[in-house]
Each structure stands twice: as structure tokens, then as C-alpha cells.
């Protein structure tokens, strides 16, 4: 039985293969590097570029690109680069957390509705209800109701942060839930699920082992789109004066502040706009590559 011992080495890890496939997707690699770059910039940028984004230098207002202000200044003389970096911190944090929340909620509702027939009707009607609600008024009402309470408990900035993340998460999970439900319905009729049931696998493990890995693609897609959606919704809220305080920079706020000066200083819209688009694009590519890398059928090619 010596050869049996020799052969009992466990099969090699699949994570190497995943990384190998991810690397071979050039867009994903570039997207990943760029997203890491954005994360590093917003995390450590303020240490390198140490101008206070709130500092008003009225004599340098509306200046163009220069050594002192690489991206120029705004109408109050605040440095745009510092504001983009500071705004990125909030926007990326809000985008990622709100996306996580909405995808988690959406997947949970979708799996529950798709897998357990008795929840299907009520949960999907509930989803329809949310889809039918006019979102912006709902957002406004929610923020009106909870902003002051949260602010007083958690402080002005973290209070608003949590509120905005929750509000965006709660109002954007419906698409994910519908897509996930549809996929769960088709996957759960496949014979490997039946095979798993025939050995007595309880539903929770069945979902984790068989259903979730097979609905990864739509979840991934809605997650990457969700980041973009969350950043943009946050901008809209800031624009309406219901997001973060008006002097607190976010990408959306910078964008909306600059629209007044669009004709005189078009480049001022460009910087936050570029930051938002590139972030969204890089996340999309990253999600695309990750989805391919996690699918063994594509990986084999």
C-alpha cells in the first residue's frame, strides 16, 4: 500500500489557478492596480499633499493649474487636489459600504425567495413595493427623520455616514434580489442540488455549497454596478443639501459645486468627474476579471 500513501496528497489548491487566470485578464489587472492606487491615494494622500482641504486662500481663488495648486483652486481658493483626495475618502467609503450592504440584502432576500417557495410570494411583492416607491422623496424623508437623531448619538460626520450608507443600501437592493432569485430558481432544479438533497444536506449548507457559488456572476455584476450607483446617489443627496455638511468635500459635492462655473472653468468639473468614472470603471473591470477567474469553466481555457 505504499503507492496509496503516495497518492493521498491532497489535490493542489485552486487559488493559484484563480490568481493565474485573474492575471491573464489584462483589463482586470489594470483595473485592480488602479483601484489600489485610488485606495492608497485617498488613504495616504493627505500625508503627502498636506494642504487642508478646508483652508480658504481667497487671494488664490479660481486659479488654474500651477505648481502650488496642481489641479487649480475653487471660487474660495481651496486647493482642488486636496479636496478631491479628501472627497475620495468619503465617496469610496460610502460607495463600497453601501454596495456591500445592498448586495448582502439583495442576495439574502433573493436566495430566501428563490429557495423557499413559501417566502417567494411575500418577499417578491415586498421587493416590488420597494421598486415602486419613488426613491428620492423616500430618501429625503428617511434623512429628515433620522439625521438629527444619529448626529446627536454618533457625531455629525460618522452619523451622516452611517445614515447615508444605510439609506442607499436599503433603497438599492431590489435589482440584486430579483436577479438572484431568478438564478436560484433555475439552479435549485439542477440535478446536483437533488443529489445533494438525497444525502440529507440541510438547506443552509445546500445554499452555501451549491447555490451561492453558481450565482456568483450576477452578484458580482450587481456589486460592481452598485458601487457606481452608490457614489452617484450620494452625490445627489449632497447636492440636495441632505448628505454631508456643505463644507465637507465628497466627489459628488465637488461636481455639483463646480457646475455653476462650468462655462468659465470647465476643468473643475473634470477632476471629480474623472475620479468617479475611473473608480467605477476600474471596479467594473476588476469584477469582470474576478468573475471569470472564479468560474472553473472559463479558467480551463
Amino acid at each position: 500500500m505504499t503507492e496509496a500513501v503516495e497518492f493521498t496528497a491532497p489535490p493542489s489548491s485552486q487559488w493559484n489557478d484563480v490568481w493565474h487566470q485573474f492575471k491573464s485578464h489584462r483589463g482586470a489587472l489594470v483595473g485592480c492596480l488602479f483601484f489600489v492606487f485610488i485606495l492608497l491615494t485617498v488613504a495616504f494622500g493627505p500625508m503627502v499633499w498636506s494642504i487642508d482641504p478646508q483652508y480658504i486662500d481667497i487671494r488664490a481663488r479660481n486659479s488654474g493649474m500651477s505648481i502650488a495648486h496642481p489641479l487649480g483652486t475653487d471660487q474660495l481658493g481651496r486647493d482642488t487636489l486636496a479636496r478631491v483626495i479628501a472627497g475620495g475618502r468619503t465617496s469610496v467609503a460610502v460607495g463600497v459600504t453601501a454596495m456591500l450592504l445592498s448586495v448582502l440584502l439583495g442576495t439574502f432576500v433573493g436566495v430566501l425567495a428563490g429557495f423557499f417557495p413559501k417566502f417567494d410570494g411575500p418577499l417578491m411583492r415586498f421587493t416590488d413595493l420597494f421598486l415602486a416607491l419613488p426613491l428620492l422623496p423616500l430618501l429625503l424623508v428617511m434623512i429628515m427623520l433620522f439625521r438629527d437623531v444619529l448626529r446627536s448619538v454618533l457625531g455629525p460626520e460618522s452619523g451622516v455616514f452611517i445614515l447615508i450608507v444605510c439609506v442607499i443600501g436599503i433603497t438599492s437592493w431590489m435589482q440584486a434580489a430579483r436577479i438572484v432569485r431568478g438564478d436560484v430558481l433555475s439552479i435549485k432544479e439542477r440535478e446536483f442540488v437533488l443529489a445533494s438533497r438525497s444525502v440529507g444536506t440541510p438547506p443552509v449548507r445546500l445554499v452555501i455549497r451549491h447555490i451561492l457559488p453558481n450565482i456568483l456572476s450576477p452578484i458580482m455584476v450587481s456589486a460592481t454596478l452598485g458601487i457606481a450607483n452608490a457614489i452617484i446617489t450620494e452625490s445627489a443627496l449632497s447636492f440636495l443639501g441632505l448628505g454631508f455638511p456643505s463644507d465637507f468635500p465628497t466627489w459628488g459635492r465637488l461636481l455639483y459645486d463646480s457646475t455653476d462655473y462650468l462655462q468659465q472653468y470647465p476643468e473643475r468639473v473634470l477632476w471629480p468627474g474623472l475620479a468617479i468614472s475611473l473608480t467605477v470603471l476600474s471596479v467594473n473591470y476588476m469584477g469582470d476579471g474576478l468573475r471569470d477567474a472564479l468560474d472553473p469553466r472559463i479558467r480551463g481555457r
Binding site: A4, F7, T8, P10, P11, S12, Q14, R190, E191, F192, L194, A195, S196, R197, S198, V199, G200, T201, R205, R209, H210, P213, N214, L294, D295, P296, R297, G300
Partner: protein
């Protein structure tokens, strides 16, 4: 292992099994009818035997198999596996019973999770039954791969890298992982090339001997069933039309439906093939949601008489070990008719051999 007693006792006894699916319609999902997928089906499978279950698509073969594994909820009837009534078994009993009966599926593509490696797929039943350490499980997986003829080096591969026949072997290895007594083969060869079919069937036969398995072999391939089965049951529209030892059934079919089915089977002997006369059935299979009155086969039966419309024929023993549901046999046949529930087990000893 095989005492004479266990040889005689049926491993599984199905009595008057009914699986009806409700049809709902309207906003309030009111039940407006039922699909009689399986209706009053009774049969036994003895230890170590292979029962072939044949019939056309949609006649309830697979549903019967799934009902035995309790993968669909039954409407009525009883299924006794080694003396335990499966539909009424509680969770604890089921946990004990599940490993003893396993299933091999038709579509080897759909029956394997594309995101799991071969080793993970075969080890899943072992994990679920809480057996062994990781290392022992892997050892067992390799043993199973050996016994179904898969190379051990393929353990880390994914199902899509294999051909249909190899995938079916993976499915078979998974079914054998827990050392089952009963394996329900749900058209295991229907999706395979003819050359591969023979390999898989030979593998199944070999495993039956080496693992002392009992098979319920569901198929629509009459030739293959003749090869592998000991006894054959013919289903039509959710009912068993005829059941008997394979040689008798193939050489001398009792029921008009069996006769028609067998007349479609090509004969390898050219002399016999020239003499073969096909019985062509007219019309389509009736809807299981609205089966014909009396005998369900009467709408297509070339020998139908008035009685067939009025009364449902009893599924009765016509000759020792041979059962059929047909009025014609009632009239012309001999007198000792009984329902299988009473006599099947008793008369079994002298039927087949």
C-alpha cells in the same frame, strides 16, 4: 452477508404509491386540478435484484424513483425500505436511511456542480454523513475513483474537463460513497453515446456484484433494460401496465402496451427481424392531468373493448410472478388473480429462477 432470509425479503416494497401535483390557477392560486404523475403504483424489489422500469417520457418513471428517495412529496401510499415506511420516517430515521439509498442521474452535465472539483463532489456525501477526517475522506475518494475507473490524478479537476462517460462515472462514484444498498439509476445511460453506454452498463453490473447493490433501473431503452434487469415493469401514464421476469415479459408480453413497445424493438437476427410486425399506436399519450376513464391506455389500445371505458382494470397476477392490468387478460386468463400486495412476496421464490 446474504442470508437466505434476506434474499427472500424484499428490500423495498411500494404499495399504491400516488404522487399527484396540484395545478393552481388564478391570482389566489386555487387548486383547479391535479397531475397524476404516479397513480397507484405497487412493486417490490428484492435484495440484489435489478428491477427495470420502462416507459415513455413523462410517464412517471423518474417521479417514482424520486419518491422512493423522498425527494418529492407523495400523496398517498406507502414505501417500505427494509421495513421502514419512508414517507412517514422522521428526521432521525431518514438520516440513518439516506446513506442506504442513492441515485445516479440522467444528465451527467447537470448532476455535477460545475464549481466543485471531482474530489469535492465525491466527498460531499461523506461530509454530510459526518464521516471521517479529511485525510480518510480523501483516501475513500481515491478508492471510489479506482473502483469506477477514474484516474486518481484527476481528483483536482472540474467536471467540464471530462467526457460524458467519465462524468457519469463521477456520478456513480458519488452514489457509491456511502455504501448504499439500493441505487436508483434514473436513465443513467440516456445522455451517453452508444459505445459509452455499454461501458457504463458493464461498470454498473460489475459494481452490483462487488458492492451487493440492488438497482431500480429507470430507462426508456428496452434493449438495455433487457440486458441489465432481472424483472421489468412497464409504465404508462403514471400506472404500471405490466410487470414480470424479463425473459417472460420480452418473449411473451401480456399487455397490449408492452406488445406494442416490444414490436418497436429491432431484432438482431435478420430472419426474425423480417418477420417483426410493428404495432403502431394511434394518437398521443393522454394528459396526466385529465386521464381517460377506465383503463388509461384504452384511447390508444388496438384491442380496446367497451369494458375498458367503464372500469379500471385491476393490476393483478396473471401467471406466477407476472402482473398486468388489462381487462382482456381478466376475461381470458385463468382464475387465480390477486392484488400484488398480498401475493407478491409469497410467490416470489419460484418466479424468476
Amino acid at each position: 452477508m446474504h442470508t437466505p432470509e434476506s434474499e427472500a425479503a424484499p428490500l423495498i416494497e411500494v404499495r399504491d404509491l400516488k404522487v399527484h401535483f396540484p395545478i393552481t390557477s388564478g391570482i389566489f392560486r386555487r387548486q383547479t386540478g391535479v397531475v397524476q404523475a404516479v397513480h397507484k403504483v405497487s412493486f417490490d424489489i428484492r435484495n440484489g435484484e435489478t428491477l427495470g422500469l420502462v416507459g415513455e417520457s413523462g410517464c412517471g418513471k423518474s417521479t417514482t424513483g424520486r419518491a422512493i428517495l423522498r425527494l418529492v412529496d407523495i400523496t398517498d401510499g406507502s414505501i417500505a425500505f427494509a421495513g421502514v415506511d419512508i414517507p412517514k420516517a422522521d428526521k432521525r430515521q431518514m438520516k440513518h436511511l439516506r446513506p442506504q439509498m442513492q441515485m445516479i442521474f440522467q444528465d451527467p452535465q447537470a448532476s455535477l456542480n460545475p464549481r466543485m472539483t471531482v474530489a469535492e463532489i465525491i466527498a460531499e456525501p461523506l461530509i454530510e454523513q459526518g464521516q471521517k477526517t479529511r485525510r480518510e475522506r480523501l483516501q475513500r475518494v481515491y478508492e471510489l475513483m479506482d473502483s469506477v475507473g477514474l484516474n486518481r490524478d484527476w481528483a483536482a479537476r472540474y467536471p467540464h474537463e471530462f467526457s460524458g462517460g467519465q462524468r457519469q462515472r463521477i456520478g456513480i462514484a458519488r452514489a457509491l460513497a456511502l455504501n448504499p444498498r439500493l441505487v436508483i439509476c434514473d436513465e443513467p445511460i440516456a445522455a451517453l453515446d452508444v459505445s459509452i453506454q455499454a461501458q457504463v452498463v458493464n461498470l454498473l453490473e460489475r459494481l452490483q456484484v462487488s458492492h451487493q447493490l440492488t438497482y431500480l433501473f429507470i430507462s426508456h431503452d428496452l434493449g438495455m433494460v433487457r440486458h441489465i434487469a432481472d424483472r421489468v415493469a412497464v409504465m404508462y401514464l403514471g400506472r404500471i401496465m405490466e410487470m414480470g421476469p424479463k425473459d417472460d415479459l420480452y418473449s411473451n408480453p401480456l399487455h397490449p402496451y408492452t406488445e406494442a413497445l416490444l414490436s418497436a424493438l429491432p431484432q438482431p437476427d435478420p430472419g426474425l427481424e423480417r418477420k417483426r410486425r410493428r404495432i403502431l399506436l394511434k394518437g398521443d399519450v393522454a394528459s396526466p392531468a385529465d386521464p381517460p376513464s377506465g383503463c388509461v391506455f384504452r384511447t390508444r389500445c388496438p384491442k380496446a373493448i367497451d369494458l375498458c371505458r367503464e372500469r379500471t382494470p385491476k393490476f393483478a397476477q396473471i401467471a406466477p410472478g407476472r402482473f398486468a392490468a388489462c381487462h382482456l387478460l381478466d376475461i381470458s386468463g385463468d382464475e387465480n388473480k390477486t392484488i400484488p400486495g398480498n401475493s407478491l412476496t409469497g410467490s416470489k421464490g419460484e418466479i424468476t429462477k
